[in-house]
Structures are given as structure tokens and as C-alpha cells.
Symmetry: C2
Subunit: 200 residues, 2 copies
């Protein structure tokens, strides 16, 4: 990478340089994945299925998305955008205007519902360590981190963000729901831990 | 499963019923995996490599261990045993005899060092959602849970255990170390969060 590149914006998903057939294959693969996942659930859809339904080779899928997890991240991204809009720019207590601890509590409850709705996609996307500390999850980490900091927490901020965010992990949430916990109870647990970390 | 089976002990890794050739293939695969991982690191060893070095088919590997993660769990298990011995039966503050919060703090520091030493194996084993809430990690979860409870924490105990245990996740630990944090600093962060959760 040449020196000026270090200051270039991060690559976005669709670049103007992406050639016409590459862009078309990408769209075909996303459409196929969306359709198959709606029919069967993400857990029952393989990269073979997606490539076959899109009418392209499996190599094309990996060239366009890097991995199965990479494709899942792009699919999630569409739903994430509306969710992010709500907690970044929407009305309080989720959006700006409420005190940070109130926003943090509202965020946890909203995110738990989203995580449950999108469990299969999130579980897949989270399995790739390459995407775990980047992609949409990095934005959530930053949001929790900023709210913890604004709420006046003390100690290692990144560790506290990681500890609190573990309660929103898709596999953990499904594991607790399967054991009989409700989303409300998980929201209460989130609140308890958030309050303790902020020293109230 | 017939009714009396429900009360039978959980299956252990080597059962007397395991046939001679199955047991031999299992030992060959474990030896090969151990040797290749020592040479190259776990990240650079595929199931193909392991099966080839053991002189068995790849299907045999999956029949014996279920998955790559399953094999990693068995390998880890050997090292885990010594580590578990120390925190379950060893001298205080890690072992019994010290107050629970002191034991919890000592456990975090000891576990961080272990996790760093065994990063590649743990990262692999943790990627399989089937082994995540069972296997060796379930024992660690229970240990943290019991100590949090004995230290008088309030609120959802499982959520707090999950939040605190996230600080021992192999990928998180390596991510922080790569960013320049030291094991001591991560140990301090563990202590801060543990103390807050216990309301001190």
C-alpha cells in the first residue's frame, strides 16, 4: 500500500471500479441468499445452495464476498441500517437527548429484540474472526463505549464495553431464550450490569 | 433414548465400547494434530493435513471427533486438566481458602495467561456453537458463576458470568494484546469489572 492510501477512506462495498459482470453476480448472489434464507432459515443454507440458486460458480461467491460470513454481513447490513438510524438519530431515550445511562439501557433492550429477530444471520457473521472486530459489530461496540464513557464509568473502557456487549451476542441470547428466559428478563439483566458498570 | 439412560453418566471421550481400530485411529489423529500444531501453529493446520499425517481418511477424523473444533477440544482438554487442578484444588488465592472475590481476581489473571498461551486452539474450539456452552468452557463458566455468587453479587447471575467471562475470550484477548495492551493491564481490567459486579 502506498503512503497516500493510508489516508484514503475505507473501501465501501460497491466501488465504481467493480466491473459490470462482477456487480451483476454480486446482486444475483445476494438475491438468491435472501430468498433461500427466507424459505429455510440461514442455518439451512449453504454456499453451494446460494451459488447454485444464483446460477454462478461457488468461486464467484468467494471472490465477491470473501466468505460465507462476508455475505451474511452484507445481508445484515440492510436491516442494520434502519436499526442504527433509530439509536443514532431517532427520538430519545434510544436516540440523542436522554441521559447516557438511559440511552444505554434503551439500546440494550432494542438490540436484544433485533438480535433475536436476526439470530441466524448474526450467528453466522460473528463466527468469522476477521469480521468480528470490524463491520457492523464495530459500530455497536463504539456506540456502547461512547455511552459508557458519557455515563461516567471508570476503569478500562474497552474491557467494560466488551463485557457488556457479550449480553447481546446472538448465540448467548438464543441460548438463554431456549432455556426459558424472556427478552424482557434479558433486558433487565442488561440494565443491572450497565448500572453496575456505571457505578450507580 | 430409553428412560434409564436419562440417568446414566454423560458419555466420556473413551468408552469401553470404542472398537480397537477406532481407538487407534483416534490416537493417530491426536498425535498428528499435536505434532502439526507444534510445528506450524493451529491456525495453519487443516483437517486435510491432520488426516494425511495420521494416514487415515478425512471421514475418519469427522467420525472420531465430529468436527475440527471437536478435535481441538480434546487436545485442549489435556492442558486444561492441569490448569483446572490449580484453580479447583490448588493453594489460595487461586484455590479454595481465599475469599471469593480474591479467588475470582486470581482466576482471571491465571486464565488470561492460559488463554494467551493456547490462543489458537481456544479460538478454533470456540467457533463451534455446539461446543461453546458445553465442554471445558462450561466448567469455567460455572467456576466464575459460583465465585460471583459467593462474593454476594446481585441480579441475573448468568448474565453477569457471561459479561465477565467475555474478558477471557481468546479472540478478544489476542485483539487487545495486538493493540498493545499487556496481560497485566487485561488482568487489572478483569479485576475492575469483577469488583463492580460484586458491588464493592
Amino acid at each position: 500500500m502506498s503512503a497516500p492510501d493510508r489516508f484514503a477512506p475505507l473501501p465501501v462495498t460497491d466501488t465504481p471500479q467493480e466491473r459490470g459482470d462482477a456487480a451483476r453476480n454480486r446482486a444475483l448472489l445476494l438475491d438468491a441468499a435472501r430468498r433461500l434464507i427466507a424459505e429455510r432459515g440461514a442455518g439451512a443454507v449453504s454456499t453451494d445452495d446460494i451459488a447454485a440458486a444464483a446460477g454462478v460458480g461457488k468461486g464467484t461467491l468467494f471472490r465477491r464476498f470473501g466468505s460465507r460470513a462476508g455475505l451474511m454481513v452484507v445481508l445484515l447490513d440492510e436491516n442494520e441500517k434502519a436499526h442504527q438510524q433509530a439509536f443514532m438519530f431517532g427520538p430519545p431515550p434510544l436516540g440523542p437527548g436522554a441521559p447516557p445511562l438511559e440511552r444505554l439501557i434503551a439500546y440494550g433492550r432494542a438490540r436484544l429484540a433485533f438480535v433475536h429477530d436476526h439470530h441466524a444471520l448474526l450467528s453466522d457473521a460473528g463466527r468469522d474472526p476477521q469480521t468480528r472486530f470490524t463491520g457492523p459489530s464495530a459500530l455497536h461496540h463504539t456506540h456502547v463505549r461512547v455511552l459508557l464513557q458519557s455515563a461516567g464509568t471508570t476503569g478500562d473502557l474497552d474491557a467494560q464495553t466488551t463485557a457488556l456487549s457479550a449480553l447481546l451476542d446472538a448465540d448467548y441470547v438464543e441460548h438463554r431464550l431456549a432455556e426459558g428466559a424472556t427478552l424482557d428478563e434479558l433486558g433487565d439483566a442488561w440494565e443491572t450490569v450497565a448500572v453496575k458498570l456505571c457505578g450507580r
